[in-house]
Symmetry: C2
Subunit: 225 residues, 2 copies
């Protein structure tokens, strides 16, 4: 505190956002009280309502700070992949890597709150509260459409409804992998350092998801009710 040269532009806002990111991840939205949050941030209790307006607006701000840049990066990655590809469309694996990369880059941001945010995000996909799910949904809507059409072109022989489900499965695998902390250690003793080696995780996820997305259809599907 001795050598503070310039005053940061919105230090209080940032301290609140950082504390919220960590506490929402640890205890959920309803489980995190404003008193606990402002205490951890080292700011006054009224600061959240002064700077953000309400608790719900703070939640929204927490997501906007990270999610908007992340999804913008996803579009950039997809542009890059589509520009570089040799054939008429990029491979499924290339599209998957483009989708995963921005998220995994956040994981590597250890001292920044990126890792906290990613775990929070994974949890929020299945958040019970409807307004929060709607918020996430509308933030994802634009990239959802682009990646869906990219995968349709990458897998032209795949029926549309089957592809929709496989994208859904892909989302689930990613969300759960980011959110869950205990289950891997439950299945087998797994070193925490290993958990978030982003390179290794990217390779494992890509292999698993590509194989699942490209899996050939069984005939028995057609005889559905």
């Amino acid at each position: 505190m001795a050598l503070r040269a310039v005053k940061p532009p919105h230090e209080t806002r940032i301290r609140i956002l950082d504390a919220a990111e960590e506490l929402f991840m640890q205890h959920g939205f309803e489980g995190t009280s404003m008193r606990l949050l402002t205490g951890k941030a080292g700011v006054n209790l009224a600061a959240v309502n002064y700077h953000f307006g309400s608790k719900h607006a703070l939640i929204e701000a927490v997501f906007r700070r990270r999610l908007d840049p992340m999804n913008a990066a996803r579009l950039v990655e997809l542009d890059k992949v589509e520009a570089e590809c040799a054939g008429p469309a990029p491979t499924p694996e290339a599209v998957i890597r483009a989708f995963l990369a921005p998220t995994l880059r956040l994981i590597e941001d250890a001292k920044g709150g990126g890792r906290n945010f990613v775990r929070l995000l994974g949890r929020t996909y299945t958040e019970p509260a409807k307004p929060i799910r709607q918020l996430i949904g509308q933030m994802y809507a634009p990239i959802m459409h682009r990646y869906k059409t990219a995968l349709e072109r990458a897998l032209p022989q795949m029926p549309r409804d089957e592809l929709v489900w496989r994208i859904h499965f892909m989302f689930g695998t990613l969300a759960y992998t980011l959110a869950a902390t205990d289950t891997v250690q439950l299945i087998a003793g797994c070193k925490p350092e290993d958990r978030y080696d982003a390179r290794l995780l990217e390779q494992r996820l890509t292999t698993f998801l590509t194989a699942g997305l490209e899996a050939p259809l069984k005939h028995s599907i057609k005889k559905a009710a």
Copy 2:
């Protein structure tokens, strides 16, 4: 109400459990107040504390009622598969089907609360509150070990740490598929009746997960840090 012949053994308990199953699924644990819960169940506010002791004990009871039979059924299914298989070990697909079957059977239980419970369960895998995750974790521990060894025998060439991760991915896909309600409709207009056709869902999940679990390793994994 006119023709009630015999009095059910613990009607109030059951009404509470059913209401809790639905409301916990809709609003989460902290988002469901005792007043809302007892109101929906049509019982007195004090009934929960009288019959279960506390809100947390009610949560535990909600899971025990369904999860213990479900995981017992998973062991039976695995026994059956291992007894019937021709070779030294069942195929990965057979093991996966044994794992999925009890869950998907619950989904088909429409008028019973099975469908509500399954969605609740999917959400709870990523529940922020630690005691609840521990509860789920200890309920899963016994079947986890059996299925892990079954898959190790089904995929003897797969490195152990890689397999642990793929089981983790498998869990994630299932949990998210059960929990998420909006995302599929976000990706593409998807009829709700189609969502829970358990047969179709089982086929799609099995195809996706089997391909992911059996995916060949890439060499580049070995050069990890």
